[in-house]
Symmetry: C2
Subunit: 517 residues, 2 copies
């Protein structure tokens, strides 16, 4: 990474918006302050006193430096960014560990278990669901376990097309190591630059691709997980029907069952054939029908992203009157123009109007990667920006989207006194349903941002639960999505998960408060 | 089902081989008896005394009829068939229940838990791994829970292309209900006619198709599972990143955590475009390389089945000097000849010689469905037939197959005094490895069949463990694969599974001895 990781906001400090850019971006929004909230100097933060110290043997891998502790206090949800800007770092970890190898991880868990110190596994720290922030006071101290030192591709098996990769490798770091061999993991979540393989596995991350092999789950051949009762290593297998999948218990376990240290991952040949197009729709319902038809066609587009009119305008892909469907195909083997033409044909048969693609696709991608930085800039202008994603079956999709718009707008207006913006896009589509992603923008008052955000989020969660739409499609549960998750998760499964947690983490030190109590 | 389910052997009694066919089939094998072992009359079996009786409210759904108990004593592994032919039904269940609805299942589990009666969930009874046979004496009695009464497609959602199907529906029964709506579940394991949706889900069944969506796991939208502590129902979701997948805990749980009563399954449009071809290889290693290249091409053939020379000869697909690769493509949307040609081209580039396909494909399919009946006929002639399947990564595949041949032949010769036959085929292929399926044929002595079978199986299991190849790709673990599974399964995962089992089945009555103790 060339640059300095921002301690308070998304990504790199150098890539944050300038004060002028913040003001300009918020200019069109009524009621925003004249100047952005300043970013506090990390040296002036009032960090809590360190309560615990590691044994001498671990002193070399543990830090209690103020800037390191501050940077590991939160993830990167909107409410995290606002609290950081306010200097609210009372929940900072006592210590941050940087293990050099798996043995260090084992030793750290041994010590923490014995000392009653909570351990919060930390990959890239990009959680937007409160996944890396300790809350509560039931432990003697808190250790943030930063895996970033374990970032190597240890082995490549070119015959089976698989690679053994350490969990702390961020996206660009692992891709840089795979590229010379001609391979790619081809997993590109929005957080790609700032999140790690271990984080993707622990949260069942969704990649940038819209269909087929996009979830990290599908690329796992085997995993190594350090649990407090021993190392869990599954065999390298392309497929197996031997009991419930061991890996699937740890995929999505968000650090409550163990610390993922490495995995054998299925890699792919780098795609060389690419084609994309954009299709405009005057009617959103017709666009949904078109996307559904494409998703059920077995054509498997790599991109199949539907932007509603507001979202399309926000990203510069259209003028605000049309919905835009971005279609893309890629292959390492054969040209993809035929399949693109078939998909465009399906979209056209539902009333879509194909466009010259480059503008829309390029505009979208650039906006996509900048979006979190823009959110941080808006946060400094006391604008509330909440994004939440879900998934539901096609029969409920339009009803859900309509309900979010119809019910959330009055909530925003009631809380803030002004109308807000609600945009929607589909990030992933399956034969049986889409993953709608909502962006909510509202103007707040300095000081009230977190409260307003939490109120909007709670209302959104209620709507999702009522429609039996998942509380998260690819952002994980963490602590912030617990209200929805606790109602979604079947109770017998919760009992089984609690029992598994007790068996693997008898001292109850691993990421307390995440997923279950 | 038009016909009578065989109480002792595979499938329908009417489809079993005649005495003459048994003799003819074994004629080429040295040392086989002159006449097949007779099939005992079910009315003359020495069934154990019934030890328990259900409460009056459940009397209407419970049977203790001798033929029903006899038919529910075993699954359909080779060793089960031989024991049935010998009349060894000492492990017959005391009772067989035929619940009419989910409430019956709940009541049966309530009674069994309180009375300490073991419950063995039973779908089509086609287990080949001892999955439906109680062994031991730690329970007051044994209840076989036969779900065959729950065989309806309850609901179809044409928008999301999903269907709610009861767990007791056998393959043809559910397909008959989906066909008029234009859909298919398109899951065709070899046991298709005689196994059920619930059995497929509980064992992570593999379908007939070689790549992409072939495992039943992938078609699950949501499941209902009756556990002793409550009903576990997951939401209908096309995708979700909310914690570890609840469904994945029950998929492959083989009845130890609960009884699956129904599931929302993703269905598909019926394919209308089909094309297939066969490619011959003089060299097995070259054929493996060709299959690997096809599996890594992202062409996703529906069939990609490699038969070694012996297997090809056995099924009539070739003369015994060549390996045969059967390639097939299907689509509901677009012609597939292009993709077939691409795959055949890849195979040809590895030295394969394309053939006129119809003969090879047709011969294979017919032999495939008759194979279990032929096995039963051979069992009556005291011939030992063992099939075992596995999966491993490509880098280990040829070494594993060589080891099975090199090490198992001497074992067979040592035990039986005669050389045996070992054939291999790939049933499924993944980008990172194949699923080799072995057929072992040896001549035994009347009375020694099970002992010889068990000895061969134990030797095969040792070879798989040493190569870290899975103990089962799609036949499940049951009780027969425990020696391999216990070494394959990571110990922390085993601890988690035991804890989950204790939480969901506190009385320990569900399918005891399967997967874990």
């Amino acid at each position: 990474m060339t640059g300095t990781r921002s301690w308070w906001g998304w990504g790199l400090a150098e890539d944050a918006l300038s004060d002028e850019e913040c003001v300009a971006m918020a200019a069109a929004l009524p009621g925003t302050p004249a100047r952005p909230r300043p970013v506090p100097d990390v040296s002036e933060l009032a960090l809590p006193t360190v309560r615990v110290s590691p044994p001498g043997s671990l002193a070399g891998v543990v830090s209690s430096a103020p800037d390191v502790r501050a940077g590991h206090t939160f993830g990167k949800a909107y409410r995290d960014v606002v609290r950081a800007l306010r200097g609210e770092v009372a929940t900072a970890p006592d210590l941050v560990a940087f293990p050099r190898n798996e043995a260090d991880v084992v030793d750290l868990l041994d010590w923490a278990g014995g000392a009653g110190v909570a351990v919060v596994p930390y990959g890239g720290g990009s959680s937007v669901v409160g996944g890396v922030e300790y809350r509560g006071d039931a432990h003697a101290g808190v250790l943030s376990l930063d895996l970033s030192g374990l970032d190597r591709v240890l082995e490549v098996d070119p015959v089976s097309r698989a690679a053994r990769i350490q969990a702390g490798a961020r996206g660009p770091v692992l891709e840089d190591q795979l590229r010379p061999r001609g391979y790619t993991l081809r997993h590109f979540p929005q957080s790609f630059e700032h999140s790690t393989l271990g984080g993707w596995l622990a949260t069942r991350s969704g990649g940038h691709y819209a269909t087929l092999y996009t979830h990290i789950d599908e690329f796992v051949e085997s995993m190594r997980v350090v649990t407090p009762v021993g190392v869990n290593e599954s065999w390298r297998l392309p497929g197996s029907g031997a009991g419930p999948s061991p890996d699937r218990l740890f995929l999505g376990s968000e650090g409550i069952l163990g610390v993922i240290t490495e995995a054998w991952m299925r890699v792919q040949d780098r795609p060389i054939h690419k084609a994309s197009a954009a299709v405009l729709f005057g009617d959103f319902g017709a666009a949904v029908d078109a996307v559904r038809a494409v998703s059920q066609s077995a054509l498997y587009p790599t991109n199949c992203r539907l932007l509603d009119p507001g979202e399309a305008a926000f990203s510069g892909a259209a003028d605000g009157t049309s919905s835009v469907l971005v279609l893309g195909f890629e292959s390492a083997v054969a040209p993809v123009e035929d399949r693109l033409a078939q998909a465009v044909g399906i979209a056209a048969s539902h009333g879509g109007v194909p466009q010259e693609s480059r503008g829309a696709v390029g505009a979208w991608r650039s906006a996509f990667l900048r979006m979190p930085y823009r959110r941080d800039g808006l946060a400094r202008m006391s604008v509330i920006v909440e994004t939440f994603e879900t998934a539901c079956t096609w029969d409920r999709a339009v009803g859900l989207i309509d309900a979010v718009r119809a019910e959330l707008h009055p909530v925003i207006e009631k809380i803030t006194g002004r109308p807000g913006v609600i945009n929607c896009r589909f990030t992933h589509v399956y034969p049986d349903g889409p993953a709608p992603y909502f962006t909510v923008v509202a103007t707040g008052r300095p000081g009230s941002e977190v409260a307003v955000y939490d109120e909007i989020k709670a209302a959104a969660s209620e709507i999702l639960v009522r429609h039996r739409a998942t509380c998260t499609h690819h952002h994980a549960v963490g602590r912030d999505h617990r209200p929805g998750y606790d109602r979604q998760r079947p109770e017998p499964f919760a009992a089984a998960l609690r029992a598994a947690k007790s068996a693997l983490d008898p001292a109850g030190v691993l990421n307390p408060g995440v997923l279950i109590d």
